[in-house]
Amino acid sequence: MGEFTVHRVRFFDYMPSAIRAMAFNPRTERLAVARADGAVEIFNFADNYFQEKVIPGRDGGTVEALCWVGPRLFGAGLNGAITEYDLENLRPRYSVEAYGGPIWTVSGDSAGTMLAVGCEDGTVKMFEILDETIRFQRNLERQKGRIISLSWQPSGALIAAGMIDMIRIFNAETGRATHRLLVERGAGASKSREVVVWSVVFLSDHTIVSGDSAGKVQFWDGHTGTLVRTHLVTKWDVLALAVSQDESSVVAGTSESIVVQFQFISSTVGRQDNEWVRTRTFKNHSHDVRALVHTETAVVSGGMDTQLVVRPLLDKVEKNTQESSLRKIAFPHRSLVCCAKKAGLLLFQFPEHLELWRLGESEGHGRAGDSLPVKRKPEKLIHLKRKGDDHIRCSAVSPCGGWLVYATVSGVRLYRIQHDNNNIGVTKVSKLPKSLCSAHQLCFSSDSSKLFAASGLSSVVVVALNPLECKHLHTLRPKSGSRQPVHLLCVSDDGKWLASANTDCEVHVYNLKKMKLHCKVPVYSSCPTAIGINPVTSNLVTVHADQQVFEFSLQQKEYTEWSRRLQQRGLHPVWLQRDTPVAHITFNPRNPAHIVLHDVFMLCIIDQSLPLPEARTPLLNQMMLRSLPEAERSRQSHAFKICKSFQHLLSMTLLDDQSLVAVERPLLDIVSQLPAPVRQKKFAT
């Protein structure tokens, strides 16, 4: 496997933002997640829950609710505007002011023609969805007090609105309020405290389900406006409700960090009188659950603890399959860390700023497993605040450490960094080529002479850098005409090849000497999560969301022999069962047969010279090999060498001096900075 000196970096104070709202599109199987900082993320549930796209947030642009209308995604927040997102250019397409104060909720009707928003001033505003925009149509009868939650009846004739102390039912045609359902306040001391209906769901059989701040989930009859059943779920708030597509199951998320399921079943076997019965309780969070989605097979929840949890319903999925395992997505599937290999610098990307650190140094040599004494501590060189209101989308530092670039939705900023001894100077490059107006992904060539920026329509802009001026060289365009954004860029060490991958699962390879498309890698059904070009053999290695590994020869324009063998043999089941995608691929220039890759929980070196593992043999055999005699060891060893001593790994890079940089972010550090959880009494504590 080889021995490395490891820089174990734990000073990246990455703090994910709380999940505020979610919406699931069952047709495309995409989940949209809105974070508290206004960022919207798209997860592809058909492709191993891969985080395909991230739309960065902006200052003051909180998103309170999300809503899919067909393939279009709408969001609205406390800034009082409804925003449609451009999922191809990863930016807000337009914002329409609702003129009703802060917006608490958005709901689309089942036909996909109308959008209802609930405003602070007590109005429910109806917007007509047109091809290019949305247009205000009318207000429903104005109420006193804010509209916190909304739900359309699936037929589209009625709307239920959750307010303070009550639920209103509106006739969507006339705009008149037809019923007023009074929600009881909590018992005891909280009697004087008004109750907030945080969430409401209107079912097609005219049952209304409400979740409120007194901890009740209530079922109402929508025809008569009477209460059918009350379930006291928690002592705190019920914050979110979600219903399954067939309306047989409702889940409720609470402040107490539990999710409670209710099912429409008969309480006694063999009888037909179905009623809503509390069935299951899930506890997968540590903090408030603020957003819920009920897919066909799973309950997806998110909240203040920033993790996305996919909890499969075991009566809906096959046992002991990939689908039946619990998923927790705690870290983003794209890299927030960039490492300058030659200069030994680390760039950390936050939504608000960038931090550039110089790695520490140590002296002396130790045996494997020792921790070396630190001679020079790591040092923060630059704290660069971004300009404007938009959050940072992507950033990069050049391998020599002389250039720094970041992109927001609105623009790209390039900085020249000069450091001599202890002085450091940052100067903004004022004149950038016009083609460099936005970038989805940024990357420097290994000799730091070129900057590559992924732009619209999967194109890549090549900019030549020198201290005097920055010049636009070429725009590389794929022939496929895909409109999806590029999420991965990779350049070979010799500067000859550039590979780009987009969310249409296409991987294009460009020849940088001729500045034209070299070839397109055969499209695989799963999205690539990491790509890398071997500096010696010029083979392109791609790893996909379903954990498959491919090696493609750029010279022959075909899969290599090793890749074919790997596909014939099939990957080890333990490898396929991992639930985090491979985040990065690097190569060891000293040993071209080694592919170094990592995900959140492991570091793996694939040795292409060794035989592939059999499905029956253990994949993790490092400890066992160590105890074996030399002859036996070489017989037992296989290509996949996995090291799990680093956990919650955000980045792993091999520096030019053969030392590894491992950036870890322990979950405990994140949990310790979260907002306060509710106080729960645990027996015998």
Partner: protein, 235 residues
């Protein structure tokens, strides 16, 4: 008679009396007496004339005296202020040196302001000064000093939209984290997990060394101070 009376009342000021117009004075005294119902006392014309003249003179004197007193008082006050001002200011030579610099300019308005507070009861003579001061404070305070480190910037407008947004955010905050929400700390939550977990361990603040490092440093400092105190006492 009526016309004369009117004239008398109209000219019944000290100025006309100063002329020594006897007729007028006579009418004046007559007018005073006419209001009495009793039979008039027998007073000779000469007597009454001198009396009237005297009283008028007395009145004039008191007025003049009062005026002078007031003037004197103001003068003394003025002197006092000037002295105070001098005391507060730097010595004259130093003042001259830095007169041109912006520092002196900056100091002046604040001085004036301090003075203004003391001069509050003053009027008339000081009024002029007050007016100029008011004029000065009426202008923008930094309008003259733009050369220095000042930049002109309009105050960021907090429109009603951002205000409403703030109210809405406060509503969520108060409902979820406000009083009565019964919240605990992450430390407690994690410590409970440690206590109840399969492999039990101590509370987080003991397990994790860098937890609440600021508070730790403070506690360490306090401890050292306390030990030092104990040693001092025992000696």
């Amino acid at each position: 008679m009526a016309r004369k009376q009117r004239g008398a009342t109209a000219h019944g000021s000290s100025k006309t009396a100063d002329n020594g117009d006897g007729g007028h004075a006579e009418h004046f005294s007559l007018l005073l007496e006419s209001s009495d119902d009793e039979a008039p006392e027998e007073v000779t014309f000469e007597d009454s004339k001198t009396q009237a003249l005297r009283s008028m003179k007395d009145a004039l004197d008191t007025v003049r005296r009062e005026k002078e007193q007031l003037k004197e008082k103001r003068r003394r006050r003025q002197e006092l202020f000037q002295e105070q001002k001098k005391r507060r200011l730097l010595p004259a030579d130093v003042l001259e040196e830095i007169d041109s610099s912006s520092f002196a300019k900056k100091q002046k308005p604040s001085d004036d302001k301090a003075e203004e507070q003391q001069q509050e009861e003053d009027d008339e003579e000081e009024e002029e000064r007050g007016k100029t001061q008011k004029k000065r404070s009426g202008k923008l305070a930094h309008a003259r000093n733009l050369k220095g480190n000042y930049t002109v910037a309009t105050v960021k407008e907090r429109s009603s939209a951002t205000f409403q947004q703030q109210v809405a955010q406060d509503f969520i905050q108060s409902r979820l984290y406000g009083p009565g929400s019964c919240r605990t700390t992450n430390n407690e939550l994690l410590s409970l997990q440690n206590k109840k977990g399969r492999n039990q361990s101590a509370a987080v603040q003991f397990v994790k060394k860098d937890w609440a490092s600021k508070e730790r440093a403070k506690a360490e400092k306090m401890k050292k101070r306390w030990i030092h105190k104990q040693q001092v006492h025992s000696c």
